[in-house]
Symmetry: C2
Subunit: 329 residues, 2 copies
Amino acid sequence: LTEFELIKRYFHFANPQKEEVALGIGDDCALLQLPLDEQLAISTDSLVSGVHFPEDAPPFLLGQRALAVATSDLAAMGARPIAFTLALTLPQADENWLREFSRGLKQMAEYCGLALIGGDTCRGALHLCLTVLGSTPKGKALKRSGAQVGDLLCVGGSLGDAGGGLALLPKAPSPPAPLPQAGEGLGERATASDYLRERYWSPMPQLVLGQWLLGKATAAIDISDGLLADCTHLAEASGVCAQMDTSLLPLSDALVDHFGDETALNYALSAGDDYRLLFTLPPEHLAGLQQAFPQAAMIGHIQEGSGVVLLDKHGEPRQAPHSGWQHFQ
Amino acid sequence: LTEFELIKRYFHFANPQKEEVALGIGDDCALLQLPLDEQLAISTDSLVSGVHFPEDAPPFLLGQRALAVATSDLAAMGARPIAFTLALTLPQADENWLREFSRGLKQMAEYCGLALIGGDTCRGALHLCLTVLGSTPKGKALKRSGAQVGDLLCVGGSLGDAGGGLALLPKAPSPPAPLPQAGEGLGERATASDYLRERYWSPMPQLVLGQWLLGKATAAIDISDGLLADCTHLAEASGVCAQMDTSLLPLSDALVDHFGDETALNYALSAGDDYRLLFTLPPEHLAGLQQAFPQAAMIGHIQEGSGVVLLDKHGEPRQAPHSGWQHFQ
């Protein structure tokens, strides 16, 4: 199996077709044609075996999770997904592994509406690098830096589930469950531990929510490193203080049932991998948010100052558990 | 040194400033604003330690070479460089290594006119993934697929030097030589072996040539896997036969002096890493090419058929040496 055969066999997806793709996979570069008055949004993510996922990760789940994780950055800008590139480094060209990996990748590409337009394959320790491309109306993208005093602090859905699921690995769902449709919950058709593992393996980038927030939210970020760590990034970029009421954090029944209240709350505050959107919203948009996205929740307020302040249900300050993931500490 | 400190210290380049960059490094995505009537050209390359470069590669040379290699794909489309992302996986955050690597990267970024707009850093075996972004006038990009019967087959400069240089590693140039200006040769100020090693470590993406070829060349590719392998790709994509006269291949004095005629020719045909452009040109543009780019050379003709045919100086067919690099054979 040569590199060219490998790419042709596993990475020439016919779908989704995107009118913005003027030239797809197979030349020195791909070419995109953006609509008038739109800006290109671009983000690159690496996923390293043994760091970002277990070394024996099931390839189907890995393929769909890798693309979901990368695409979450487009959701956080309110961008409409267009295309992605994949640089895949593999110890060997195992055709069973490639078939399952590309099936997972393709499924998430179709779910997100992303065409695979290029990349690279080579031999080495398992390593994925994905670059995702989308577009936003000119000047309208959701940045981290726009939060205003008086805004509400909100999240797109339950927190901590992926952290709980990671703690419950290595048992992977078998056979892989089908992906939900946009907005569909998972909890009603699985045991608590299956649900949590699935939230780790199959985070759904909140693309619809991100685009709904355009022109409404003042700032947004996706929660990859953990709520506290990513909220700190947003507060620093905006020059404000985020006051968070820990009793308002949305916790799934599955997480609380399996781990108890205190551990569930710690996962919600500190575990990464949820890929929910965290955003700041002027109060007049709260009713619209709750109607359109019932799983979203208001969890605090933006005020003057800096950093993140945690309050308990009595409005008393509380200590934060350890903060988010750091690669080089 | 946290991930955030690392990025801030080593990867916040002030230059080059590009007016297309609406939002640079530090948010969930970067944002680009393309000029009207231009298409975005995008390419992703991985460089893996022990595969694409020696494990003890000097970090300055590695930084500038990695970006040069990636940017060569923009040159091959005739694209104007805009920006790039870097996903950097490192065994540890060694500040000396990072300082030298980022200095090399920055030097090549300035040479090419590429702003660093995003990326990712994490811990693992040394691995680089670069995504480069440029633009071309709508519908004008140089593809591999446009070669026509009657076109001349041309290359942008001497071939085989990087292959000779690779054979002469591991001695790295010390201290690193300054990069040449566009179009400047290297041979006159170094020994043959220094020159060849430098051609391996510091290939210059032929950006000026690529943009000159817009509207003139019918097809183009950059030579990364070796002349024969990449010429085969071009011939296949265009549905033509490339007839190549091996006596016309431009060989540097340094390569011939050091390795002799036969080995020099084999490097020119089969070694990768030169990153010269290979392109097909209607005959009426040859005089203009030779005037603007004296180092470029006509090396054959496009005719009906398929594949690549090699002729010797008497016009007799000759055997090809083994073909280009394959990762998975």
